[in-house]
């Protein structure tokens, strides 16, 4: 039977109240009883203590008669039924019941047993001397029982009354509660049936009122949400239908459940026709594996894609599409919801872009320069193949993501990065600047340009770099610079040497005179000899300097270097120390070369001396000759070398070697690494000059601690001519004569010296300080046999020009020229015929005498 809520509430309340009241009553009674008991006990104890104190006095005084009335008075208290006092011998000495007196205490106690109505409380009375006696009081329980009964009755009365009230209140409450609940229930039922905007009509500030209000709000809210849901559904449906992207809902087996028209259009069908198909009907079989993978993703993550595939069009062609989707629960079934995009045009654009990129890459890879581009953090975005090769990469794409710190030129990475940042931050290109780069073959030089890359918003997003290897060009420039420097030094030193040479000529000339005049005086003669040797030494030095500056016109002869080297074997041996072992490796069939052998001897000697000085503790000196062809490539790397056939002479030592800085200056005049006084610094400069004058090439290789190798390359000659001018011996008798000689020199001292020489030799002399003066003398004197003139003279006419004019006037005139250096204006347009009779300054008397005699003895030039 269904019991109404109001009755159930009432019954529930009644039951709960009964239980509660019962508990309260029980607790109250217990508490009350305990309180009463405690109070009574306290009172009993107080009585006991009081009587005990009085009893103590009685026991001490043994005056029990006075105690008796006191004890009997106690009986007036309804709680006290009996009092007994016993002495130390347990004999009752006082009692409210006189017949107890004299009895033993325990006997008297047992005579009045404890029962529910009364009980004994005892107190032992003693002092420090022991027990005095014992007091016992019999108390009545009646009061406690009375109190208990009273409390119980009161409690029951209250409980009964309370329960009645609660029962009435419970029923009333239930009724009041359920009435409003019924109204709320009715409203809920109407709402469930579909009625909108239902209201309960229940008011109140209590919980039911709150419930009713909440229900009303909920109904209103749900109704509104339903409306919104309907609108949303309509909206979503419209979006679904009108979407340009294909949308499809299919079952897990691929059966299409719902699609939009965009989806159908992708495969060239309409919606109804497409819904007859399955997903697998429009998927090419080649995509099965890919589909399986996507299904696995779907299982694992609940979604798949985006990924690209193809659909089969109605007309059979394949349509590229991009799909993505997810699982969807609907009506208890799992579907796959997918969006599909026709990417045909995208694919076409992609293909076009790819082609464009390929073309761009082809252009980049074709141009001979290195091209690269980086992002704002100097991370490479791409490069051409030349750059990739420089970076040691197999493919240009491998550069993507790398930085300079990860490439072979990481030592310059900071520098490159700084340049990148400067360009990107300033927004201005940095063009055609040079920078070093480490490479596998060593350091190279680059000419680089960097340009900021701007996006369509004109914002810098990276940097474009272009560079080319200018290492060869720099080497060439360096060689040219060095060569020009050497030439400038040569010109300078040649000018100095020329002037110095003139003065030396004067000094040596007069020293020669002094030698003759002091022949009989031993000591002065010795001094003059010493001075002469010193002067000759100076002449040798100027000779070397002039040799270096190529201003000395030397006579060349065709020579076999093997013979020339062997001629010097003794000198070489004597030049080096005994600890130095000299070995010769001379080619069997060595080509010929046209050189001045004297200069060659000097050059060899200088090289041997340098080698010796580099091996103070001994070592090895190797001298090699060979035939060598210098190629165009070699010439490209060595500016001062010309491709062709050469005779190579190599001197190698195992000395201390030279560092690169020393090598840089090794051919400069006066540059030396030797201690002061040990070298003039002109040795290698002289060798360099010798080689250059002979159209050759010199190359030095040296390493510290290893040694030095010098290669001399002298051009090959096909001539077999080998003339040689013998060295004059000072002690040989000088040739004399009596002819007439015109001496021309702008240097007065040399003019006078020459005049003195020739006069001593028996010649008749005329002197002139310049060419015009000489021509005047020639015009006035028809008996002049020889014109002895300095080449370089002021007033615009050189010795050569004087000789030309003089021979025009007097064709039979013999010509002997003298000079300290050769000007560039010499040896062209017929003037070169006079250069064959050229006496180098400074000259000694003997040399002058021999040359003059030789020329005068020659057949007429006409």
């Amino acid at each position: 039977m269904k019991l109404s809520l109001k009755y159930r509430i009432a019954i529930m309340i009644l039951l709960l109240e009964t239980i509660m009241m019962g508990l309260v009553l029980w607790q109250t009674l217990e508490h009350s009883l305990d309180a009463s008991r405690t109070q009574l006990e306290a009172t009993e104890q107080t009585i006991l203590n009081l009587v005990g104190n009085v009893s103590r006095v009685a026991l001490l005084t043994e005056e029990y008669a006075e105690l008796q009335p006191y004890l009997e008075n106690l009986q007036k208290d309804p709680r006290v039924l009996k009092v007994m006092l016993a002495d130390a011998q347990q004999r009752v000495v006082a009692s409210t019941h006189s017949d107890d007196i004299g009895r033993t205490f325990n006997t008297a106690l047992t005579h009045h047993n404890n029962d529910t109505e009364h009980f004994w409380r005892q107190l032992e009375i003693s002092n420090s001397n022991g027990k005095l006696g014992e007091l016992a009081i019999n108390f009545s329980n009646k009061a406690l029982l009375q109190a208990y009964t009273k409390a119980r009755n009161l409690g029951l009365t209250i409980a009964a009354f309370g329960m009645l009230i609660i029962a009435i209140a419970g029923i009333t409450t239930g009724f009041l509660l359920t009435r409003r609940l019924e109204r709320i229930t009715a409203a809920a039922q109407r709402f469930a049936k579909g009625e909108n905007l239902v209201k309960t009509g229940v008011q109140g500030n209590d919980e039911l009122g709150e419930l009713a209000h909440s229900f009303d709000s909920m109904a209103k809210s749900i109704t509104k949400k339903q409306q919104l849901l309907q609108e949303s559904e309509h909206y979503n449906r419209t979006l679904f239908e009108q979407s340009a992207i294909g949308l499809a809902l299919c079952r897990m087996n691929g059966e299409l459940v719902d699609i939009n028209s965009a989806y159908a259009r992708i495969i060239g069908r309409d919606v109804e026709e497409t819904l007859q198909l399955s997903y697998w009907d429009i998927t090419p079989k080649s995509y099965i594996r890919k589909e399986e993978h996507q299904l696995n993703c779907l299982d694992a993550t609940g979604c798949y894609g985006p990924y690209e595939k193809e659909y089969i069009h109605k007309d059979g062609h394949l349509v590229p599409v991009r799909l993505q989707g997810q699982l969807l629960e609907k009506d208890g079934e799992t579907f796959i919801w997918s969006s599909v995009e026709d990417i045909t045009s995208y694919k076409q654009a992609e293909e076009a872009l790819h082609e464009s990129q390929k073309m761009l890459q082809l252009v980049l890879d074709t141009i001979p320069v290195r091209v690269f581009w980086k992002d704002r953090n100097s991370v490479y975005l791409g490069c051409n193949k030349h750059f990739a090769r420089d970076a040691g990469l197999e493919d240009a794409e491998q550069i993507i993501g790398k930085t300079d710190f990860q490439l072979s030129w990481h030592e310059q990475a900071e520098l490159y990065r700084a340049d990148d940042q400067q360009v990107m931050q300033s927004g201005e290109a940095k063009l055609n600047y040079e920078e070093p780069q480490s490479s596998a073959t060593g350091n190279i030089w680059l000419q680089t340009s960097k340009i900021p890359l701007l996006d369509r918003h004109k914002k810098v997003f990276g940097v474009l770099g272009i560079y080319e290897d200018i290492t060869k060009r720099k080497q060439t420039e360096e060689a040219l610079r060095r060569s020009q420097k050497m030439e400038a030094i040569g010109q300078l030193s040649g000018g100095v040497a020329h002037d110095f040479n003139n003065q030396l000529g004067v000094i040596i000339g007069y020293l020669d005179f002094l030698q003759e005049y002091t022949r009989k005086d031993e000591i002065p003669h010795k001094w003059v000899n010493t001075a002469s040797h010193a002067t000759m030494r100076c002449m040798d030095l100027t000779q070397q300097l002039l040799t270096f500056s190529r201003q000395q016109n030397k006579e060349k002869t065709v020579a076999n270097l093997n013979i020339t080297v062997r001629e010097q074997e003794t000198i070489i041996k004597r030049t080096v120390t005994p600890e130095v072992e000299v070995e010769y490796f001379l080619a069997d069939t060595l080509w010929l070369t046209k050189i001045d052998t004297g200069e060659f001897h000097d050059a060899i000697l200088n090289l041997v001396i340098n080698a010796r000085d580099a091996m103070p503790n001994g070592g090895k000196l190797l001298i090699e000759t060979s035939n060598k062809h210098l190629s165009a490539d070699y010439a490209a790397l060595n500016y001062d070398a010309t491709p062709g056939d050469y005779v190579q002479l190599t001197l190698s030592d195992t000395g201390c070697g030279m560092d690169s800085e020393t090598l840089e200056h090794v051919f400069e005049p006066f540059f030396t690494t030797k201690s002061e006084g040990k070298g003039t610094g002109l040795g290698l400069a002289m060798v360099y000059g010798f080689v250059k004058r002979n159209g050759g090439h010199i190359k030095i290789y040296s390493e510290l601690g290893i040694g030095t190798t010098v290669h001399l390359y002298l051009p090959r000659s096909t001539s077999s001519e080998l003339p040689a001018m013998a060295r004059t011996n000072d002690k040989t008798e000088l040739p004399t004569g009596s002819e007439n000689i015109l001496i021309v020199d702008d240097e007065v001292n040399l003019l006078q010296l020459a005049d003195q020489y020739l006069t001593d030799l028996g010649y008749h002399t005329h002197t002139a300080k310049n060419a015009p003066q000489a021509l005047e003398i020639l015009a006035e004197n028809n008996n002049i046999d020889l014109l002895f003139s300095d080449v370089v003279m002021p007033d615009g006419m050189s010795g050569y020009e004087l000789a030309q004019q003089a021979t025009q006037q007097k064709p039979a005139l013999k010509i002997l020229l003298t000079s300290g250096f050769t000007s560039k204006t010499i040896a062209h347009n017929g003037l070169a015929r006079f250069s064959s009779h050229l006496l180098n300054k400074p000259y000694r008397k003997a040399e002058l005498a021999q040359h003059v005699r030789m020329i005068l003895d020659e057949e007429d030039n006409t």
């Binding site: 103590r56 006095v57 130390a88 001397n129 022991g130």
Partner: protein, 276 residues
């Protein structure tokens, strides 16, 4: 068999000790102390004394007193006490009539003091004229001695100065403390006790001539050897710490042998009192 014998031996020993205990209890000596203080006060002092006597004597001694001097004297007369601490004026009858023998006495002389609080405005006996003096019960020796001294000082008791008897020395001082009486008559040994209890300082206005102090007498029914031992016990307390503590409780420096001849002057005084 052996176990049975052992059992019997044990039980009989136990019974014997219990019987001895009972006999001892029932044969305990009563040591009566005159009620010069309240019963409770006397118990605090003399229960330990009785305990010490019990130990030293190896015979249970129970402290007893009575509610009043008359009752005590009556008990003395009835020879209820085996040992008794009595006042000097009870010595003659106790010895001469009641069958007691002298044992020891408190070594200090016994006098009667008329005491006032230290802050009392009274500084001489003559200033007591017209005042009220609280006294122990009238028959107390200190009262007699004080009366005699007042007379000698020119103050006729109950005429020039009122004397009112109270139950005990405690009661007397309580009257003085609350201002109902101006002075109090007390024996010397009670002064320290009162001062300690009431935390007041007292000053003597008058001290009578002294007589032998409280004495301890023992009934002749006590065996002589026990009497002698008792005497020695009392006398020895001056020499040991436990005894000194007891003496301190009693407020005496010690006990000396009680010589009967010393109490002749008490006898003469009593004769004089009878004439008074």
């Amino acid at each position: 068999m052996r176990l049975l014998l052992l059992f019997l031996l044990l039980t009989s020993s136990l019974s014997l000790s219990l019987a001895t205990e009972k006999k001892t209890q029932s044969g305990a000596y009563k040591f009566g102390v005159l009620p010069y203080l309240s019963t409770t006060r006397l118990e605090n002092i003399y229960a330990p004394v009785a305990a010490e006597l019990s130990r030293a004597l190896r015979h249970k001694v129970n402290f007893r007193t009575s509610s009043g001097h008359n009752r005590f004297l009556n008990n003395l007369k009835q020879q209820r006490y085996d040992i008794a601490l009595i006042q000097p004026f009870w010595y003659p009858p106790a010895i001469d009539q009641f069958g007691y023998q002298p044992l020891v006495r408190m070594q200090e002389p016994f006098a009667s003091l008329i005491m006032v609080p230290d802050n009392s405005p009274l500084h001489s006996i003559s200033e007591l004229k017209g005042k009220l003096i609280a006294t122990p019960p009238a028959f107390a020796p200190v009262v007699y001695m004080a009366r005699r001294a007042l007379k000698k000082a020119g103050l006729i008791p109950d005429k020039d100065v009122q004397l009112k008897a109270f139950k005990s020395v405690d009661s007397c001082f309580q009257q003085v403390f609350i201002g109902s009486a101006d002075a109090c008559i007390t024996p010397p040994f009670a002064v320290a006790v009162i001062e300690e209890k009431m935390r007041i300082k007292l000053r003597a206005l008058l001290e009578t001539t002294s007589i032998p102090n409280l004495s301890i007498v023992v009934h002749k029914r006590i065996p002589a050897d026990k009497r002698e031992r008792l005497k020695n016990i009392f006398l020895s307390w001056k020499q040991n710490n436990a005894g000194k503590k007891l003496l301190d409780r009693i407020k005496t420096q010690g006990f000396v042998p009680a010589i009967d001849k010393e109490y002749d002057m008490v006898r003469a005084f009593m004769h004089e009192i009878k004439g008074m």
